[in-house]
């Protein structure tokens, strides 16, 4: 496994007069959870979108597993092993839970250009899809369409879909948003397990969760890194306290 798994150097992106990303360099190493925090509009989601390929940077390089991926399409990047969850749950709403996962397993295990054999007759594929549903504790809801799930369950299903991709890196955009305390606690445990499988770049506003999980924290403001380091160094950093943690100087 090449290390760092994701390496971003001198990334810049502006939308008109707004600099969403300014000469930003950041890495994600194997085995770690790297948390990305900062006020709304700091450019966190824009950064994720540049990594996943939905937004093209103006300048800079994005390397994944030692390979430059700037020119690759979002689908190719996912195929290489970049899994993401979205800030707002993004599911195939009319599909059942198990069918959502079946689609991921299908995408990972070969071509979608098979026109004749029924995909739901493929027992091996189905068994895999069910196993990921088990992992997040949704097996009892397997037949329900995603649209019938509660907010918390939808987030669980998103995590299961990221897991089913068997990725080399997770990009999680506010996975705790809108979850109840019990759900957050559950998810914290789950992320601790997921980190062993692949490193996690985590955007999160829930500071308790971030402090509990992160190995490293990077703080963004106006598209720039204003601090980066261990949990303790960030907690005690004056800049961060004024810009983000809301402590008066």
């Amino acid at each position: 496994m090449p290390n760092p798994v994701i390496e971003i150097t001198n990334l810049s992106k502006s939308f008109g007069a707004i600099q969403a990303t300014q000469d930003l360099s950041i890495t994600l190493n194997f085995g770690e959870i790297h948390a990305l925090i900062g006020p709304n509009g700091a450019g966190k989601s824009t950064l994720i979108k540049q990594i996943t390929g939905y937004i093209q940077p103006d300048q800079g390089q994005i390397r994944f597993l030692g390979q430059t991926i700037n020119q690759l399409s979002p689908a190719s990047r996912a195929k290489l092993g970049l899994a993401q969850t979205f800030q707002v749950s993004s599911l195939i709403m009319e599909y059942s839970c198990v069918d959502n996962l079946l689609l991921v397993v299908q995408a990972r295990s070969g071509s979608s250009f098979s026109f004749f054999a029924a995909v739901r007759d493929d027992q091996k594929l189905l068994a895999q899809a069910r196993s990921y549903l088990d992992q997040v504790g949704l097996s009892e809801r397997h037949h329900l369409p995603a649209s019938a799930l509660s907010h918390g369950e939808r987030r669980q299903l998103e995590i299961a879909m990221a897991l089913a991709l068997e990725p080399k890196a997770f990009l999680l955009d506010e996975p705790m948003a809108g979850m109840d305390p019990a759900g957050v606690k559950n998810l914290i445990e789950r992320l601790k397990e997921m980190r062993l499988q692949a490193p996690i770049l985590l955007i999160e506003h829930d500071m308790a969760a971030v402090f509990a999980l992160a190995d490293r924290i990077t703080v963004l403001d106006y598209g720039r890194i204003i601090a980066t380091g261990s949990v303790d160094s960030i907690r005690n950093n004056e800049h961060v306290q004024t810009a983000y943690l809301g402590v008066a100087p």
Partner: protein, 322 residues
């Protein structure tokens, strides 16, 4: 009534009634059923793009017309003994005409799809419409094959072992092609490809983010959809023994879309129900008032407002399972 049961009844009616009409010596009703089968086939094609893939193509008349004109051009050359290109005299054999019509439509669909699938929503609708209208005006202004007056096919094209001029035999050809296509599309619907296509309709970003390239899937579906509609166009030309630029006009695109929506978007047998209802309205109400389309409009309004599942959804009272 389950959707499956309903589909079987429709097939039984489609196959059975024309034979009844045949025995009662009522060829008009046989040709009416043939029309339904052919237009349903065109709808099955569009339904693949529109119902399963969510691609609102307002230009499927292009493919319907290509099917028709390929048929007309090949037949007219063969009947007049004029080579199309040196050495190729055209043909009056359906078994050669169909694959050629479908192939040419596929090439055109590949080109149109490559350009238009980069857009979505209203822009996709307008671009597909624009391409179809371009071909429409071209067909009007190209005098070689009749221009605005259209191109007659003096004799219906042949099929080995059958007398295609006999209405019931030609009906059976069209009906069989429709049934084979329905079977093929039902397989496709449940395949890996169909799974990805239907997911794309619902959430393109999500499907992309798990590593499926949306353009490849949608373009393939668009091309398959176009070839099916082109096959219907070829049969339509043979049914009327005449092709005209009307086949390319946006009215035709609209009508095919109406079949799909009336019957139920994304329902396998929806286009059959829709085309059946449309043609029966035209035949029955049309005999009573020339403003029959007013009532068709009311019907369409009713379906869109109150019965999103279309006729099939209404009768089967079944939610569409994805």
């Amino acid at each position: 009534m389950s959707e499956k049961y309903l589909n079987r009844i429709m097939i039984a009616l489609l196959v059975g009634l024309p034979w009844l009409a045949h025995w009662l010596d009522e060829p008009y009703y046989v040709s009416l059923a043939t029309r339904i089968a052919i237009l349903a086939l065109a709808g099955v094609g569009l339904n693949l793009a529109l119902g399963l893939g969510g691609m609102v193509s307002f230009g499927h008349a292009a493919f319907f017309g290509i099917g028709g004109y390929v048929t007309g051009i090949l037949a007219s050359h063969a009947l007049n003994y004029e080579p199309i290109i040196s050495g190729f005299m055209g043909t009056t054999q359906m078994l050669i005409i169909w694959p050629l019509a479908m192939l040419i439509a596929a090439v055109v669909a590949l080109f149109i799809g490559l350009l238009s699938l980069r857009t979505s929503g209203v822009y996709f609708i307008m671009i597909t419409l624009a391409f179809a209208q371009m071909i429409y005006y071209f067909s009007i202004s190209w005098p070689t094959y009749g221009g605005e007056d259209g191109l007659p096919i003096y004799m219906r094209n042949g099929f080995p072992g059958l007398n295609t001029l006999q209405p019931i035999q030609f009906f059976m050809i069209c009906c069989t092609l429709l049934l084979i296509t329905l079977w093929g599309v039902s397989r496709l619907q449940n395949s890996r490809f169909g799974n990805a296509l239907q997911a794309l309709r619902q959430n393109e970003t999500r499907v992309t983010s798990i590593g499926i390239n949306p353009l490849g899937i949608k373009l393939t579906a668009f091309v398959i959809s176009a070839t099916i509609t082109a096959l219907a166009g070829s049969l339509f030309a043979d049914l009327n023994r005449f092709v005209s630029p009307t086949m390319f006009s946006w009215h035709t695109s609209g009508e095919i879309m109406i079949f799909v929506i009336l019957g139920g978007l994304g329902r396998l047998y929806g286009p059959l129900a829709g085309a059946g209802l449309f043609i029966l309205c035209e035949a029955l109400l049309g005999g009573w008032t020339e403003y029959w389309q007013f009532f068709l409009g009311l019907l369409l309004l009713g379906v869109v407002l109150f019965a999103r599942g279309g006729l099939i959804g209404l009768l089967s009272r079944e939610q569409k399972n994805a």
